[in-house]
């Protein structure tokens, strides 16, 4: 446990002090800001723009959110293990008395905390809406919290995919592309429910559709099925990453 704490502190330092992370943050907030601006435009046009959805749903349902997530998650995680392998520090790290799992989890936890920090400034948007009430839009705190829960769950799985991709290669670019590919497949699969095909197929697709999950969360619907879906996917991706880190000890 102490080892995990020591590793986590080092990883947080490495992430929060790296220029890549700040570039990613700038990019992310620019995209989210643009998204928020478009939302305001919609609201200004009146009810027909926001039919049925909540404000946070409009924000999270936008293509901008997904684009930002698709790019930002692999960028946060690409460095984690690939860079250690490339620079050779991996050898120094793994010959210290540390478990493979502690190393992977510390790197993952640091990435997750950075991801959460990315989202923190976006809380200003609903707060601004609520305080200013410029358009008299209703603001449901429950739906807002559920929306952020969904954001964290999807992010958690995307980051786990990124850490896994970073564990299999020594090149950051490959790691980023690998993580991007996994998240992309997941995102595109999210549109399956909207493509007409058989009843069973459609329902199955619904279970794995990130887009629908997020819209549900943003409506304030906290369903255990999507929660389990993300927790399980995160867990097995991290397990796979630990196996990759231990692969050098395979006989």
């Amino acid at each position: 446990m102490r080892t995990f704490g020591v590793l986590l502190r080092r990883e947080l330092g490495a992430i929060f002090l790296s220029p890549i992370a700040w570039t990613a943050m700038t990019f992310f907030l620019a995209v989210m800001g643009a998204s928020f601006w478009m939302l305001l435009e919609l609201l200004a046009r009146g009810a027909e723009g926001t039919e049925g959805g909540t404000v946070i749903g409009q924000l999270l349902g936008s293509i901008f959110f997904w684009l930002a997530l698709l790019i930002v998650a692999p960028v946060i995680t690409m460095r984690t293990l690939a860079e250690e392998r490339r620079s050779g520090t991996f050898e120094m790290l793994m010959t210290a008395p540390v478990r493979d799992g502690a190393v992977v989890l510390a790197k993952y936890a640091a990435a997750l905390l950075f991801y959460a920090a990315l989202w923190l400034p976006t809380l200003a948007y609903p707060i601004a809406l609520r305080l200013l009430r410029p358009l008299g839009a209703p603001m449901d705190v429950g739906a807002l919290a559920a929306g952020y829960l969904g954001v964290m769950l999807i992010g958690a799985a995307a980051l786990a995919a990124g850490v896994f991709a970073s564990a299999v290669t020594r090149s950051q670019v490959t790691a980023a592309l690998g993580g991007f590919a996994i998240v992309c497949v997941f995102f595109l699969a999210g549109f399956l429910p909207y493509i007409p095909h058989g009843e069973t197929m459609s329902r199955a697709a619904h279970y794995a559709s990130g887009v629908t999950h997020l819209l549900d969360f943003a409506r304030g619907v906290v369903d255990t099925r999507p929660i389990a879906f993300y927790v399980i996917n995160t867990a097995w991706l991290l397990w796979a990453a630990v196996q990759m880190v231990g692969a050098r000890r395979w006989k």
């Binding site: 102490r2 080892t3 020591v6 590793l7 502190r9 080092r10 330092g13 490495a14 002090l17 790296s18 620079s87 050779g88 520090t89 991996f90 050898e91 120094m92 793994m94 010959t95 210290a96 008395p97 540390v98 478990r99 050098r248 000890r249 395979w250 006989k251």
Partner: protein
Amino acid sequence: MASTTAQPPMVRVSHLTRRYGRTLAVDDLSFEVGRGEIVGFLGPNGAGKTTTLRILCGFLAATSGEVEIAGFDVHTDSLEARRHIGYLPERCPLYTDMRVDEFLRFRAALKGVSARQVRERVEAVKEQCGLSEVGRRLIGQLSKGYCQRVGLADVLVHDPELLVLDEPTIGLDPAQIRQVRDLIRELATRHTVLLSTHILTEVEAVCRRVLILNRGRLVASDSTDRLCQLRRGIARVTAEVRGPPEEVRAAFSALSGVRSAVVETEGEWCRVRLECAGGADPRPDIFRAAVARGWTLREVGMAEQRLEDVFIELTAPEEGPREEAERSGT
């Protein structure tokens, strides 16, 4: 710790084999390193030194065979074994984005130095490795020599019993090499040291025992001095006498153990170079032969065989098959 039985050796390697795919990197290697020993781990590039050290430190698994560090199996009891080792990998990789102090504190905590002692240990190793001035500097901005010292400080920070150093002086300038070597020699008084290198003077200067590895096999394991004295091959004797060259050659060639003699003249002096069978020492016979014929002898000496000669001899590629291959190839 069992107090009734003798303490296990610091390192025990038995029948260690490691394959990379079809390549055999380490082939049935067995050796021990006792507590307090300073052992040189020699071999040409690609002999399997680094692979062996990585297995010792728990970074790689052996394909077969066993390795114990201070009695702990590196595979089944990996964490405990790793706690006893300070390992400096080849080329000394460090986190270049950290400051020296920050890095050493991180490593100390990671290796289980208690929170109260971290600062104290870090100060101690910085002092020991001459890093007191650069604590605030970023590692990425340090010179190669300083990086190497940071690596050594990291190795020492948890005060391990066994130091495993993989080519610690590679890429340093002569003055830095001397500094690092002095440091290692100093460390050797308190730790067990396994030093891998292909720089032979380093081993001669520091180590008391040598393991020579060639193509994954152990080809010699002996004290540095004895290995040099072994003279497995030929001994070279030179003598200078005043006498007729032809007679000198004839007389000396006839001595027992002498394989060949070459004579050069230098005015009225003859300089004779003899190649003798291993173990033979014809020097007394040379003296007696010269006296018997009334020649003046002004020098007779046996060339001390250096570790380098032994090393070259032991790690030379086998001649037979290669010649055959060349013949059939062209």
